[in-house]
Amino acid sequence: MQSRTVLTSSDIDRAVTRISHEILESNQGSQDLVILGIPTRGAILAKRIVDTIAKFESIDTDAVLGTLDITMHRDDLASKPTRNPAKTVIPAGGLDGKVVVLVDDVLFSGRTIRAALDALGDYGRPSAVRLAVLIDRGHRELPIRADFVGKNLPTSRDERIRVLLTESDTENEVVIEA
């Protein structure tokens, strides 16, 4: 198995910083912004994005940052081994009328995001939903695209993308394995 680093630690940091600025720019500030990470690594990236935003804007982290677990909304529950659901944390202000930015590590088939959109509906009615991902590797199976992308990475279906983040993996890099 060959593996190759496609994003180094500092590449990831730059991408997170850029995405954070793009989110602020497109939202024209931080008002009504809610950033929801999809566990496990999406939640870590969401935290990094919110921490970055907090350097430039005066925000209450707890009112902006949350996590959204999508396990129970997946469409492959019957064909894959049972997964244990993770925690969902919705900021106390709720989602009604907010601009929700979903954050995930890799955008691939789009099915995770489809599940996330379904899950969101159970918590409220955001005024808009955006999507931020660290890696877009193509091969979409649903009409879904990301608004904020760290890096577009053309891949073949057989390749595997591994996002390693310090908080969960000790390393901080993105590796492609063939």
């Binding site: 129970m72 529950l77 064909s79 894959k80 049972t82 659901p85 918590y123």
Partner: protein
């Protein structure tokens, strides 16, 4: 995991996974839209040969909140009263395509029979079989206790927690399941009750026993007492002289509650015989987890249904 017949089938990891999932399910039960699409298209049959309020209703609500279709089957008013056997009833359910059968039966081993006979292809969940086991009750008791003791309970067991199970141990499937599960999770379990109702086989597996509740309270440093219902329908012999004497020696009253102190939780699987095994002062005290047990019943049963009915070929 295909069936849940006995808590002995659960490893510590599997039990903790179910408890952690229950934590997420209880979050679902707190929000406005209490529904998940997870088990859409699955059929869950509640097959109840014995009376039940809490267990049947909470299984029904649990299955519905996960979007499964629910069929309630009570032996009364069905062909069982015409003499239909368990096998024929089971095969009828198989013919209509049940993905899970939740069974409560007065005969110990009925759930095991159903799970291992090949009569049904779906999952079998034991909701109480005779005096044998009641696994989902033990899971919800463990879940309730774990949440009461740990502020962040995720991933944790019940290591070092000491629990006394008090009352009619001999006839109690709740006691049997709890003894096994609580010990699996690392708790110390003490059995307390009249000598006639404390079978030696179970006492041997416990960390200690006592014939007197007062003695148990002063000897063991208890984090929780689990009072069992005196099952009058199973009192076929003179196990204890009278109900008044039982209440006096083994009942949890205000005096004993004071002896236990403010750190000890009071649990009861319900339905309570107030004034017999537990009096109002204990049942309604601030240390009582009785109502939480009922509320958690739905979350835990959602978690069990999810773990049994999701998952594909690798299971």
């Amino acid at each position: 995991m295909k069936h849940l017949v006995s808590v002995a089938d659960l490893t510590r990891e599997a039990a903790i996974a179910i408890l952690d999932t229950s934590l997420e399910m209880s979050e679902v039960n707190d929000r406005d839209i209490k529904k998940l699409p997870t088990l859409r298209g699955k059929t869950v049959v509640n097959l109840f040969f014995e009376d039940s309020t809490r267990t049947r209703i909470s299984f029904e609500v649990a299955a519905k909140r996960l979007s499964a279709d629910v069929i309630n089957f009570a032996a009364k008013g069905s062909s069982v009263s015409k003499g239909e056997s368990l096998k024929d009833t089971a095969q009828t359910l198989e013919a209509i395509g049940a993905d899970a059968v939740v069974i409560r039966h007065h005969a110990s081993g009925a759930a095991h029979m159903l799970a291992n006979s090949g009569w049904v292809k779906g999952s079998v969940i034991n909701a109480g079989d005779g005096t044998h086991e009641h696994p989902t009750q033990a899971l919800l008791d463990a879940f309730t206790l774990r949440s009461a003791i740990h502020t962040d309970a995720r991933g944790k067991g019940l290591d070092g927690v000491s629990v006394a199970i008090v009352g009619d141990i001999a006839h109690s499937r709740v006691a049997r399941s709890n003894l096994v599960l609580l010990k699996q999770l690392g708790a110390k379990v003490y059995l307390v009750g009249p000598p006639t109702l404390l079978p030696n086989a179970l006492v041997k597996r416990a960390d200690g026993f006592s014939y007197s509740l007062d003695e148990a309270i002063s000897t063991f440093k208890l984090d929780a007492v689990m009072m069992l219902r005196v099952q009058l329908e199973r009192m076929t012999a003179g196990f204890f002289p009278s109900e008044r004497e039982y209440a006096r020696i083994w009942g949890l009253n205000a005096d004993r509650l004071a002896l236990l102190g403010s750190e000890t939780f009071v649990m009861h699987p319900g339905p309570m015989n107030r004034g017999l095994e537990i009096d109002a002062a204990a049942a309604d005290s601030k240390n009582s987890l009785v109502l939480k047990q009922v509320a958690n019943g739905v979350s835990v049963r959602m978690a069990v249904l999810y773990h049994l009915l999701s998952g594909g070929e690798n299971e």
